[in-house]
Structure formats: structure tokens, C-alpha cells
Symmetry: C2
Subunit: 347 residues, 2 copies
DNA sequence: TTGAAAGCGCTAACAC
DNA sequence: GTGTTAGCGCTTTCAA
């Protein structure tokens, strides 16, 4: 057992309160008293019991971050940014990995870590508006990724549809007319982000006066490299050979790229490939990967700030979440044309 | 404010203890009592205050995982495995990102999260034996990565020196005689893992009767793709053109690969490149990356198990850590020859 | 099988 | 400036 405030107080010959004052850096402690206490603190190697402090203060200084998988680079990079942003504001981050499984996401929403975290940042995959509405946990919540429609909750995301439109327009501008998309999720109604990206693709084609060929819209089970590789194999075996492929994320694109190169195709000369997310891999692949860069640092910062406001806020965390003032923040993104579509290499 | 046990007890017309019994799933509660309590629990949407529970139990069910950076794929994949292994044993993981900074690693060691985590898994970069010996925090600790020499602490790592030797021998077996290494850290005495990998490289050359050419030993600032790219540029601009390059991790290798391809070299025909870590990127790069696969799942599992034993153990966490029974677990690894050295492509 | 009461270690009123 | 004390919500002897 470590030393408690009482032990320190006894050794220093002062009251518990005084020790507490010193520990918490309060002013108005007589220099000599302070010194005496500090000596006792050091001698006993005192460490505050954070559980006790948390219970008393009603705060833990910890926020939860729930995301599908830490080993997908986009989420790893995002987690990094969230942890950094949180640390700058004095918070530590507890991570829940959901693997995109409905029951785990459900648990997260219902507050498995009640009173262990002051707030929660959540990047859901399967959660729909009903589930969000049915939430009774009062822990402040900020959602990442696409808005769960009609959700009464803060959320932060880029404009996925616009970004996908821009990317597709980029492919059109290079002269391509048969443009495929990899990563459709029509079988998964809750996959909002995917739907928006595919919608943006369709919009851009329509705007360019191109017909959409449903055979060029390739669904995938998930969003990993293997899915992209497999989807590209199907595409290459199919009846229509696309000139360009828009992949709904960079992992899909890197998988597709691998398949294309293995098949002896030149990228982008024979087939152009674009991704989404700007994970670091795509900056070092050969060819480098054209992509959309969401401002992850901004997303993380805003999410933490919204959460902080909610935690400190006057509003006693209305039942069901932040209903009245729910904010919908649209984060920035850029289009980054690179070798996999333009063929241009750096000097 | 949420409902407390007392509130539930009042509503159900029973004592606090009874409610606690029901909440904790104790047997020996009369069925009707249980039902009454459960109704009250549901009606008030009761959620246990984990801070209070932790204070009372002296346990939190949370372990800390301190690592340099979550956005380096090796650590992301490792974190994933640790979180999984911890979850299987009922633990949640709090993550501390040290960025490999000495002061942050120092804080981690001195227990910033005292009594907030039951134990700590730590992958240090700069920590040496003195600092470890000077540790006074009693939180059970398991180190990942190479043993801090003479450390009185459990640690889990692969045999880095042997793995590096095997990899270098693989390059020798392909007929290469001028073999470079990227990632030397002689300027950083605490970088144990790096030293072991370079030592393994030297050993393998010696065993093959090859001279080591110090001009082929390239230091790097850190272990990211950019460092590898830069190191390869220096190597290609240097007086001796290597036939093969052993990179101390996969990120360095992917950076080096990019530089080589940009310079118009064929890999492996003109220059072979090998990495270390088996991050997923290397399975989809073109060419795919020859590497060493540490068994990350095993490392994570063993680390969590050692920690669990320590936390539950009879030993009251001896001052300074687990001195008496400190275990040194050597995890498995494999050599994975792939295209970047063999040139062989899958059918 | 259930209840009463003590106390985990800390902070925050409130007194002095 | 410093001390006293109550109590955060829970678990846990100990009795009944």
C-alpha cells in the first residue's frame, strides 16, 4: 500500500487539508509549512490515489475513444491526433476497439465505462439514428465520421460527398470515361460514409454527362487492402475494363494497385487509381497514390474541444445527449493528385 | 446525476447491500427480491460509478499501454493485439504516447496514472537500466522490446540479434557481398533493439567471411519512411553501391524502396531490400517486402498474462518492480522472403 | 438471505 | 493560513 494523505499529514505534523493544498498547488501555504510537507511527501514517495480523487471530484480526466480498429492506418493516425489533442488539454485517452461489430458499438453507446470517462469520442460503423436516439447514457458524446442522420449529437466529419465528387471530377478531367468505384456498401444501410462517397461519384459522373455503369460499381466486404485487391481482380475479370478506379479509401486503393501491377498493367497509363484518406503508405507507394486528405488534426482538435465544452458546460448533459445545441462541424479536406492518376513524378 | 445504489435501494425497498449483491451477480438472493431490485435498477437506469468501485476494490480493470507512436504501423498493430488480449481478460487499455521523448518515458515510469491503472505495458525507446532501477512506482510493469539490461522487470521480445543475423544470412545466400544496413543508432546508446539488429548484421557478415564496410552502415534519425528514403539517397550517392540493403524496420525499407525505384533501379535485380516487423504495407507493396515477422499476438498475449500474474500475484509488488521473479520471455519470429529480395512473384 | 455501518483516499465547506 | 469534518458511491465485514 502506498502512503495516503493522512500518512503524510501525520509525518509532517500538519492536517490532511494542508497536505492536499500543497499537492494541488494551492497558494496561501506558509513557505515553511510547504517545505515541511514537501519533505514528508518525498520521504513517503506519496502518490495521489486517482480513483479517490475522481470519485470526489466527479471527474476522471479520461476520455474514451471508440473506433473500429487501431491497425487500420487511418484510424491509427486519427487516434494519434486525438491522443495528442486530448493530452494538450490534460486528458488521457482510453481506447475501445469495436471491430465495427454492432454489439460492441452498442455497448460503447450504452456506456460501458460509466464514470470512468468524462466523455466519449466515437467513430461508429453500424450505429443508426434509432440506436443513437435510444441511448440513455448521459456521458457527453461526439461522433466522428458521417452524421448519423437526425442524430441529436455533436459530430465532426469532412464533406465526404463533395470530396468524392471532386475526386471523380479529377479522374474525368484526365479524360477517363469508364470510371469504376470500389467499396460500395449498399448491403450495409448504416455505412453512411460509404454511401456518401459513392453518391459523390455518381453525381460527378452525371455532372460530366457520363453514364454510370452498374458493373463498374464494386462492393466490398470491408475496407482493407485484401478487399481492394479482390475487388480489382473482379473488375479486371469483368466485361468492362475501366480506365480509372476511385477507391473509397486508401487501403482499398493500395490493394487494387497491387492487383493491377501484378496483372502487368501500368498505373496510371493503363489504369488510373485513386484513394481516400491520405494515409502515409500512399505517399511512399510506387506509384504514389492520388487521394483526398481529410484534416485529421483538425477533426481531432474539434472533437476534443466539443467534448470539453460539453463536459464543462452548464447544460447538465440532457437526456439522450446534446440534443439542443448539437453541432455539426464540417472539417477541411484537400484533393492530392499524385502519380497513380497523373503519372507525374517528382523531379 | 445518475442514480446511486442508495436510490435504487430506496425505490426497491431493500438495503444497499442487497442491490449491490444483485448488481454483482451474487447468488443467494431470493428470486422475488432479485426481481424487485432489477425492476428498480431498470427504472432508474442505474449505472455503477466505476470510480467508487475502483476506490473500494483497489483495482480499476484498466491497464496502461505506453508506446512511442500509434501511427507507426508496427505499434498500431501491436496496440491492436494488446487491446484484444487485454479485452479477453476483462481489461481496458489506456494509451500513453511517448513519442520516444525521454521526459515522457520518464513520467510513464514514475506512474503518472497511479491507481488509475492496475498495471503497465511499456515499450520504451530511451529508458536505460539506471532509470528503471530508480523507479519507485509500485505499479506492476512489463516491458516490450529489448531488455533494458540488468532490468529487474519482466520483459517480452523476440531475439532481435538472431533475427537480424538470419535476415543478413538470407541476403548473403542470394549471392550478395556488398550488403548495407540502414537504421544504425550508435548515437543513441539506449536504442537497444537497433544495436542488436546491427550486431546481428555484423555477425552474419563475419560468419560469411565478408568484411564489414563502415560506409555501408547508415544511421538514421528515427525509423520512419522518410528516414529510409533519405538514407537510401545517401547510400546511392556514396562511393560504394550496395547490392542489398537490410533495413532495421519495414518503414525504413519502404522509404528506401521508394528512393531506389525513383532512381530507376529495379528491386531486387539491381538492389535487394529487406525490412523488419512485417507490417501490412509490406505485403502489398510492389515489390512485396522481405521481412522478419515478430509474433505480435504472442508478444501481446504474454505481456498481458505476465501483467495479470503480477497484479493478482501474492507478491505485494516489491519495491522497484518485480525484481525477484523477473521473467525474460523470448517471443517467436519468422523470416519471410518476398519479392524485394527473391524477385519471385506469386503465380 | 438481508441489513447496518464502516471506510477506501480524497476534496471542499466551513470554522478558527 | 490551517484544521475539522462530511461525504463522493461503492464493497464488505459482521450481525441478525
Amino acid at each position: 500500500m502506498g502512503a495516503s494523505l493522512k500518512d503524510v499529514a501525520a509525518l509532517a505534523g500538519v492536517s490532511v487539508k494542508t497536505v492536499s493544498n500543497v499537492v494541488n498547488g494551492y497558494t496561501y501555504v506558509a513557505p515553511q509549512t510547504r517545505e515541511k510537507v514537501e519533505r514528508a511527501l518525498a520521504e513517503l514517495d506519496y502518490r495521489p490515489n486517482l480513483s479517490a480523487r475522481n470519485l470526489r471530484r466527479g471527474r476522471t480526466g479520461v476520455i474514451g475513444l471508440a473506433l473500429p480498429e487501431l491497425d487500420a492506418p487511418y484510424f491509427a493516425e486519427l487516434a494519434r491526433s486525438v491522443i495528442d489533442a486530448a493530452a494538450r488539454r490534460g486528458w488521457t485517452v482510453l481506447i475501445d476497439q469495436t471491430d465495427g461489430l454492432p454489439e460492441r458499438e452498442h455497448q460503447v453507446l450504452q456506456g460501458i465505462r460509466d464514470h470512468l470517462v468524462d466523455g466519449l469520442i466515437f467513430s461508429p460503423i453500424t450505429i443508426g439514428p434509432e440506436e443513437l436516439g435510444a441511448r440513455t447514457d448521459r456521458t457527453p458524446l461526439v461522433l466522428l465520421g458521417e452524421r448519423v442522420l437526425a442524430g441529436p449529437t455533436h459530430h465532426v466529419a469532412i464533406d465526404n460527398q463533395r470530396a468524392a465528387r471532386e475526386m471523380t471530377a479529377h479522374l474525368v478531367s484526365l479524360g477517363h470515361t469508364r470510371i469504376a468505384v470500389i467499396g460500395d456498401q449498399r448491403h450495409n444501410p448504416a455505412a453512411n460514409t460509404a454511401h456518401l462517397r459513392v453518391a459523390g461519384y455518381r453525381e460527378a459522373l452525371a455532372a460530366a454527362g457520363l453514364e454510370t455503369d452498374e458493373r463498374l460499381i464494386v462492393p466490398t466486404g470491408s475496407y482493407h487492402r485484401a478487399d481492394g485487391a479482390e475487388a480489382m481482380r473482379r473488375l479486371l475479370a469483368g466485361p468492362v475494363r475501366p480506365q480509372a478506379v476511385f477507391c473509397c479509401n486508401d487501403l482499398l486503393a493500395l490493394g487494387a494497385l497491387r492487383t493491377a501491377l501484378l496483372a502487368g498493367l501500368r498505373v496510371p497509363e493503363d489504369i488510373a487509381i485513386a484513394g481516400f484518406d491520405d494515409i502515409e503508405d500512399g505517399r511512399y507507394s510506387t506509384p504514389t497514390l492520388t487521394t483526398v486528405r481529410p484534416d485529421k488534426a483538425q477533426i481531432a482538435r474539434v472533437a476534443v474541444e466539443l467534448l470539453e465544452a460539453e463536459v464543462n458546460g452548464p447544460r447538465p448533459a440532457a437526456r439522450g445527449g446534446a440534443a439542443p445545441g448539437a453541432q455539426e462541424v464540417v472539417a477541411d479536406h484537400d484533393l492530392l493528385p499524385r502519380e497513380s492518376t497523373t503519372g507525374r513524378r517528382p523531379a
